[in-house]
């Protein structure tokens, strides 16, 4: 590994650490500010637990100690891999997150790939035909999508495809009343298609508009002008020059979109009752499951940061202009 690469990776790692620490501090402060009482959240609204027992629980959790002390205790246990217990799932936070994250990953993965491919193709078409009818239609479509809230699109899809047409089940990733291990792959898929489609449709707009801009820029460059002057056909110009010059920024953008992808997943999972991380965010938020919420915040930051870092690395590996500089 070259020295510059090592330095680059070290810097990135150091930054991740600072961001994570900051996130822990900020979420801890935010949770401190919140009027949610962790004991009530834990025992629920039941009146069976008396004031004495509540005090015991609070004592056990160290809730009476000063905030800084509690933060340090919480932060150390996080470092040691003990992320606490989820109050609504009654299981260790890390275990819950691990399981939910996997099912979210399937959803986000499909949506990510679909939106990337479709958005890229549409963007190239629109960019080449800049100002023509095809461009106007595609751009209008994207502008409508950008202004569409994810959850509303989900509602629309449910109304059309599940309720009216009956093509897909309305909700849940597994049919109600069937044990998880009895669920067939087909069942799983049919519950995954609609949420994944919803999530991808929104991702398309971003990548498509960006690719359209880049393509239109490339079409205006001197090298495309020269390609025309050399008698290259439009087809050859697109395949030889445009795609190559546009794909790097597109792939990069796609990796930079992890944040929106995660945000979109929260809504899609909520609307479709899909049992992933996004669904867990809403549930833990509404029911005051602070340990789980804080755990998810940390994971989401690592997830988004991984996307950003990948984008950076790709730039260094793929673009010859940077690659050669790094070599030299």
């Amino acid at each position: 590994m070259k020295k510059s690469t090592r330095k680059f990776l070290f810097q990135r790692f150091f930054k991740l650490i600072t961001l994570l620490i900051a996130l822990c501090v900020v979420t801890f402060i935010l949770m401190e500010l919140s009027p949610i009482d962790p004991v009530t959240a834990y025992v629920g609204a039941s009146t069976k637990v008396g004031a004495e027992q509540r005090a015991l629980i609070a004592e056990h959790w160290g809730l009476n100690r000063p905030p800084v002390e509690r933060f340090m205790a919480w932060f150390t246990s996080i470092l040691q891999g003990d992320w606490g217990t989820s109050m609504i799932y009654r299981r260790p936070v890390l275990e819950v997150i691990g399981q939910k994250f996997l099912s979210s990953l399937a959803l986000m993965g499909i949506a990510w790939i679909l939106s990337g491919i479709i958005g890229f193709i549409l963007g190239i078409v629109a960019g080449i035909k800049e100002g023509k009818l095809a461009d106007k239609l595609i751009s209008a479509y994207c502008h409508i999508l950008i202004s569409t809230p994810t959850f509303w699109l989900g509602i629309l899809f449910i109304m059309v495809f599940a309720v009216q047409l009956g093509w897909f089940p309305v909700a849940m990733s597994t049919p109600i009343g069937v044990l998880a291990e009895d669920v067939s792959l087909l069942d799983r898929l049919s519950h995954l298609v609609l949420p994944a489609l919803t999530l991808s449709v929104l991702g398309i707009a971003n990548i498509c508009l960006h690719t359209r801009e880049k393509t239109a820029d490339v079409m205006r460059t001197d090298y495309v002008l020269f390609a025309k002057a050399r008698g290259e056909s439009s087809r050859s110009i697109v395949f030889n020059h445009v795609i190559k010059n546009v794909s790097l920024p597109a792939v990069t953008l796609q990796f930079l979109s992890f944040s929106e992808l995660f945000g979109g997943a929260i809504f899609v999972e909520q609307v479709f009752s899909y049992p992933g991380l996004g669904h867990a965010v809403v549930q833990s938020g509404l029911r005051g499951d602070l340990p789980l919420l804080m755990g998810i915040a940390i994971i989401s930051l690592i997830f988004v940061y991984t996307g950003n870092l990948t984008a950076d690395i790709l730039y260094r590996v793929i673009d010859p202009r940077i690659r050669e500089e790094v070599k030299a």
Partner: protein, 272 residues
């Protein structure tokens, strides 16, 4: 013949008029005009109720306009607050330079590395929900991109001859910010504020929909849509459809206003 510029100005005016109309109309609607009419619940769109009626017979058009105007007010508040933050940080970063600049860049990265929705939810929980939470949450997550734009702009101004001259005459940062920087970044700030609005209003409605924003008794658009989820499987499509479409229309309208102002101000696109 009408040129592109005339069209641009016309579309800005028409959309601004619509925007103002919804805002005012919504504010004029009193709670009591949303009377409950139990004899006419779940009326499909058409006839006396273009948008249909809801589970207690309230007119959905009136509810939608009222909800939109509330969401728009929140959106306005958030976008203005966001661009104020962007202005202060975007000007301070390059002028103070050094560690301040590094810290502000880091702060931008920090905000960008948490999914916005999650951040708004966390802040909303911290505030115990309600209007305050949603305004702070949306504002805290929407200042970043405009800050970057302003920062880049100010960097250029800082390197300009007249700024350097001022500095050589011993003028301080505050003087330079006021005399040289602000006049130049006002167009960017205006465009930025307008373009933040659609994001702000969508995020507000979305988070309210999830149940973290405005409480269920407020006439907000997110609340209306959240309610509609209950009647989804029974085919009451108009409860979700029209309010959603209206929200999209407002967001697109404002986006178009912003883009068109940009086209008028920015010579690069204006002369193309």
């Amino acid at each position: 013949m009408i040129g592109i510029r005339e069209k641009t100005i016309l579309s800005i005016s028409v959309f601004s008029f619509f925007f103002a109309a919804i805002l005012i109309a919504g504010s004029l609607i009193k709670e009591d005009s949303l009377y409950v009419e139990l004899s006419n619940i779940f009326a499909p769109p058409g006839g006396g109720h273009i948008f249909g009626t809801d589970w207690v017979g309230r007119d959905m058009l009136v509810r939608t306009v009222k909800g939109l105007s509330l969401s728009m007010k929140i959106g306005l508040l958030c976008s203005v607050a966001s661009s104020l933050i962007a202005m202060v940080l975007g000007v301070a970063a390059p002028l103070l330079g050094g560690k301040v600049d590094i810290f502000i860049s880091w702060l931008i990265d920090f905000v960008l590395s948490i999914p916005h929705t999650l951040a708004i939810i966390l802040i909303s929980i911290a505030c115990g929900g309600g209007l305050q939470g949603i305004v702070i949450g949306v504002t805290a997550t929407h200042w970043t991109s405009l800050t970057r734009v302003i920062r880049a702009e100010v960097m250029q101004i800082r390197e300009a001859e007249y700024t350097k001259l001022s500095r050589r005459f011993g003028k301080g940062n505050l003087f330079i910010a006021k005399e040289h920087v602000l006049p130049h970044i006002i167009p960017q700030l205006v465009i930025g504020t307008v373009l933040i609005f659609p994001h702000a209003i969508l995020h507000e409605a979305s988070v309210t929909f999830l149940g973290f924003g405005l409480p269920a008794h407020e006439p907000a658009i997110g609340v209306i849509l959240s309610e509609s989820m209950k009647y989804l499987t029974s085919g009451k499509w108009w409860l979700a459809f029209f309010p959603g479409i209206s929200l999209i229309a407002v967001s697109m309208m404002v986006n178009s206003i912003g883009k068109n102002i940009e086209r008028l101000i920015d010579p690069k696109t204006a002369y193309r």
